[in-house]
C-alpha cells in the first residue's frame, strides 16, 4: 500500500501497476478519451421511493389508494406525498417508485391535460383514461429504450370511451396489462390475492358495490402497513364513479372524489411482542 499522505490507501504502483479508473466506474477523474471506452450509465436505482398503489373496479367505477410515504432507502423520509394524480376530469393516475420521476410524470400529465383539454376546445373530446394510459406507456417505453427509464410503476384508472370502468398498469419497462384488480410493487404480492377474493374473474366487478370494494381496499392498506416496511398508515383514496344506466354510452353524473389523510383503522400489534428474529420463531 502506498503511504504517501496524498495517495494514501492506493495500491502501490510498484507492486500492482498504475491504477485503472475504468474499474467499476470508480472515479470521475477520467480523461475524455477514457470515457468513450466506458458504457454510458443512467440511473441504476430509484432514490426516494413510494410503495404500492392498490386499485380495483366496481360496478359503477374504480377505486384506488396509495399511502403518503416517501422512503429514502429504509429511512421514512417524507410523510406528506400525494401519489394519486388527477388528469382531466375523470381519470386518476397512481404512481409508485421514484418520487422525482413521479414529479416529472406529473408535469408531463399536466402538459397533456392543457394540450388536450384546454387548447382550442369547443366542447366534447374529453381526455379519458385509455388515452392517458396509451400516452404514458409510450413515454415510459421510450425512456426504457434509451436505457434511461422513469423508475415507476403506474396504474391509470377511469372510464373507457364506452363508459365502462378502466384500469390498466404500466411500468418502467413499458410493460402494460389490465385487470379488474391491480396493484404495484409489494401490493402485487400482498394486496392482489385479497382483491381477487372479492373479484375472482375480471368480469365479476360488475356485481361489486362501492362499499364492498372500499372495505377490501381498506383491508389491503392495513395488511400492507403490517407487512411492508416501506408503507405508512396514512394514505389517500380516489373514487371515480358514474351513475349511468347500463348500456348507455355517456356516463351520467360523474363524480371524482379524492380523500386525503385517511388512517389505517383497526390495527392490532399484540402479536408483535411474540415475534423475535425474522419472525420464524414464535416465543
Amino acid at each position: 500500500m502506498n503511504h504517501d499522505p496524498f495517495h494514501w490507501g492506493r495500491p502501490s504502483q510498484e507492486t500492482y501497476g498504475g491504477y485503472n479508473y475504468n474499474i467499476a466506474n470508480a472515479s470521475n477523474h477520467q480523461q475524455e478519451s477514457q470515457l468513450d471506452n466506458f458504457p454510458k450509465v443512467h440511473s441504476q436505482q430509484p432514490i426516494i421511493t413510494g410503495t404500492s398503489v392498490v386499485s380495483l373496479k366496481f360496478k359503477h367505477g374504480i377505486i384506488m389508494a396509495a399511502d403518503n410515504l416517501g422512503s429514502y432507502g429504509s429511512l421514512l423520509r417524507f410523510n406528506n406525498l400525494e401519489r394519486l394524480i388527477k388528469v382531466g376530469s375523470q381519470t386518476v393516475v397512481g404512481i409508485s417508485g421514484d418520487i422525482s420521476d413521479l414529479q416529472q410524470i406529473e408535469r408531463i400529465l399536466h402538459e397533456l391535460e392543457i394540450e388536450q383539454e384546454i387548447y382550442d376546445s369547443d366542447g366534447g373530446h374529453h381526455l379519458r383514461a385509455p388515452h392517458v394510459h396509451e400516452y404514458l406507456s409510450k413515454i415510459l417505453y421510450n425512456r426504457r429504450t434509451k436505457m434511461d427509464p422513469l423508475w415507476n410503476a403506474v396504474i391509470v384508472g377511469g372510464f373507457n370511451d364506452d363508459g365502462t370502468p378502466f384500469l390498466k398498469y404500466i411500468d418502467l419497462l413499458g410493460v402494460t396489462y389490465t385487470s379488474s384488480t391491480l396493484a404495484t410493487g409489494f401490493g402485487s404480492h400482498l394486496a392482489v390475492p385479497l382483491l381477487r377474493q372479492l373479484i375472482p374473474n375480471d368480469i365479476d366487478y360488475e356485481n361489486i358495490e362501492e362499499d364492498e370494494a372500499r372495505k377490501v381496499l381498506e383491508n389491503c392498506m392495513r395488511v400492507l402497513f403490517y407487512r411492508d416496511a416501506r408503507a405508512s398508515d396514512k394514505y389517500s383514496l380516489v373514487t371515480i364513479k358514474s351513475e349511468s344506466n347500463e348500456g348507455e354510452s355517456t356516463p351520467k353524473k360523474l363524480s371524482y372524489n379524492h380523500e386525503t389523510e385517511l388512517k389505517v383503522e383497526g390495527q392490532s400489534w399484540k402479536f408483535a411482542k411474540d415475534i423475535s428474529g425474522y419472525g420464524s420463531k414464535q416465543l
Binding site: R107, I114, S121
Partner: protein
Amino acid sequence: MTSIGTGYDLSNSVFSPDGRNFQVEYAMKAVENGGTSIGIKCKDGIVLAVEKIINSKLLVPGKNKRIQTIDKHIGVVYSGLLPDGRHFVNRGRDEAQTFKSFYKTPISVPHLMDRLGIYVQNYTCYNSVRPFGVVSIVGGIDDDGPHLYMIEPSGACWGYTGAATGKGRQTAKSELEKLDYETITVKEAVKTAAKIIHQAHEDNKDKDYELEISWISLEETKGRHEFIPEDLLAEARKFAEEEDEEDEEEEEDDEEMES
C-alpha cells in the same frame, strides 16, 4: 399617407424618409376592418368579448370559437387576420410551456407579454416576413392579480384597464372610458361587455353577429380562463339588446322634447 407610392411601402423593415414603417401601418389597416374585440380589467378578474360577424347562414352557430386560451390562467382575443391570431396564440402557448418546464411555475402575465412583444416586434425587422395582421388583447390572473394587455403589429405592448380593437373600437373605447374599474366585478362586466359589443356593432348593422365572452376570476372560475356559461351569455345578450332599446327610446323622447 402622402408617401404611398414612393416605394418605401413595398417592403417590410424599410423606413420611409420621414421615419415610418409603412408595412406595419398597413398591417394595422387589416385589423381595423375586423370584428370588434374588447377586454375589461375588473376588481376581481378579466372579461374578454368579441363580435363575430356572421358571413353565411351555413356557418354552425356557437362553433368557430374566436377567444383562445394560452395557459390555464391566460386568455386572448384578437381582431384582424384570424390565421395570424392563431400563429400568435400558438407562440404564446410555446412560451408559457417553455417557461413552465424551466421554472416549474406558471408564467406571469407581464412576463409572457414581454416575450410576445419581442416576438411580434421581430416580424417588423426583416423583409423576409410580414408583420402580424392582428391586434391581440391578452388577459390573465397571476400572483399579482388581474392583468390586461393589448399588443399591436408593431410589437407595441401596453397594459390597459379597458382595451378595444377592430372596426367598432372608437365606440367601444368611449364606452369603456365610462366604467369604474376600481369597483366593477367580472359578473357586472360580462353584461357591460355584451352591451359594448352590441353598441360597437351599430356601425356594421347590415350583418348579424354572434357574441362570445370569456372570463377569468378567482371566485367564478378558480383563476382559470373559461367561456362564460350559456345561460349567463344569453342573459348578457338580452340585457345588451334591452339597454339598446331603452337608449333609443330615451333619444326619441329627447327629440320629442326638443321639438
